[in-house]
Assembly symmetry: C2
Homo-oligomer: 222 residues x 2
DNA sequence: GGAATTTTTTGCGAAATGGTACAAAAGAAC
DNA sequence: GTTCTTTTGTACCATTTCGCAAAAAATTCC
């Protein structure tokens, strides 16, 4: 046992995805879950009205831990917003890539959006991007960049849908995918805002149906 | 001079519109102007992020005077919002009642809205209703009622425009004024949000033009 | 078992916040 | 001129806010 040699793993994969075996005291929280709870709070209250004490209570982490894990309040807000966007993107991805008739596709997209905006035990939470744009994006360049990217992302995804539908002959040749996409985004925005003011789901669904009729032509009133 | 009788004004108009000659120390501020300044601040920062100190500085009134004149912070916010709505209504009234072709009418309505949303020396201020809806309406019933009334007011005004245009034969018989009105409101909302995120005026104008084309039919591409 | 390392916990502190009490000021009524 | 009324200005209070320092705890490496 003299030359025990520490058995050096000759070519072990350097990035083991599980159990990195950190060195110090183990964390008492799960970063993913804590960030999700912080996101919930920010969505409910907005940036300025959310205090670190509330965030601490919601995440189960005390303030110094919050700082260590996510930085100050603004950084935490930005990370929460990134998480929100990633979640929303994930929820939409399948629908945008599925090869459905345009009408069905739009219906599903708007339905998912409605679910996101109307969720929340203490009242509908609306759309983080819209709230953020309304309050923080004017003054904060970093947040503004993310918000603008969010608009662009949504516009482009809708435009791709309409372009494909046009190629498949579902839309008349006169249809302009970019203009239709902006109308679809506008519909997203109007239901996000109205949801936040507790407009009932039925009315929002009626707005969606009307918008789809206009965008796709009102032939099949399903 | 014994029976001087205090000369009772026999039938003097009880509501003299000028110079009521108040009794105590005269006010050092003009309520209208002070409320306007408070409105500007609230539009810039939102409710929670606006402090009474800032409001005091912006209005030129010290805090006790603010409190005496408008009540606490929330009441001041509500009064500022009422003022905003009154101003916006006044700016729109003429256009909504003018008998213009529908296309021209929409162009002017959206142009006025753009001016409101893009104004502000420290960045575009957006639409107070949208900001208010996004942040306060969920939790505050009074504010929510005002916001809902704002939505309804706009929807109805647009619907009246489209209904009239349809009667005048400017729109096809298949056009649904209510649906078109919701799309017009959605366009208002999307440009309000995007303006707040500093989307350039040109892009907003393009969105408006596209929306009008869809709503009125793209024949005359003026 | 002891040293090193990372996290948690407790508690502090300086600043800002919303709101108010109270005396001084400025004008009207008499 | 005196009194009454209303507003202003100064100062204050209790609470909340964000942020951090320093000690205690939990784990790995040796």
């Amino acid at each position: 046992m003299v030359q025990k040699n520490k058995n050096p793993p000759p070519l072990a994969k350097p990035a083991a995805p599980v159990a990195p075996k950190r060195r110090g005291r183990p964390r008492a929280y799960q970063p993913e879950i804590a960030l999700g709870n912080a996101l919930d709070l920010f969505r409910k209250r907005g940036f300025a009205a959310t205090s670190l004490d509330e965030l601490s209570a919601a995440t189960g982490m005390n303030r110094p831990s919050l700082y260590g894990a996510f930085g100050d309040k603004r950084e935490l807000y930005i990370k929460a917003y990134q998480r929100y966007r990633a979640d929303a993107r994930a929820a939409m991805l399948g629908i945008f890539s599925d090869e459905l008739p345009i009408r069905k596709r739009l219906e599903r997209i708007f339905a998912v959006a409605l679910d996101i905006y109307l969720s929340g035990d203490a009242g509908p939470r609306g759309c983080f991007t819209v709230m953020t744009a309304a309050s923080e994006a004017v003054a904060d360049p970093d947040i503004r960049a993310m918000v603008l990217e969010g608009f662009s992302e949504l516009d482009k995804a809708f435009a791709a849908c309409f372009r494909l539908a046009k190629e498949k002959g579902e839309l008349p040749a006169s249809a302009d995918p970019v203009v239709l996409a902006q109308l679809a985004s506008a519909t997203i925005h109007t239901i996000a805002i109205r949801a936040r003011a507790r407009v009932p789901r039925k009315e929002l669904e009626a707005i969606i149906k009307g918008a789809i009729d206009v965008m796709c032509g009102a032939r099949s009133s399903a």
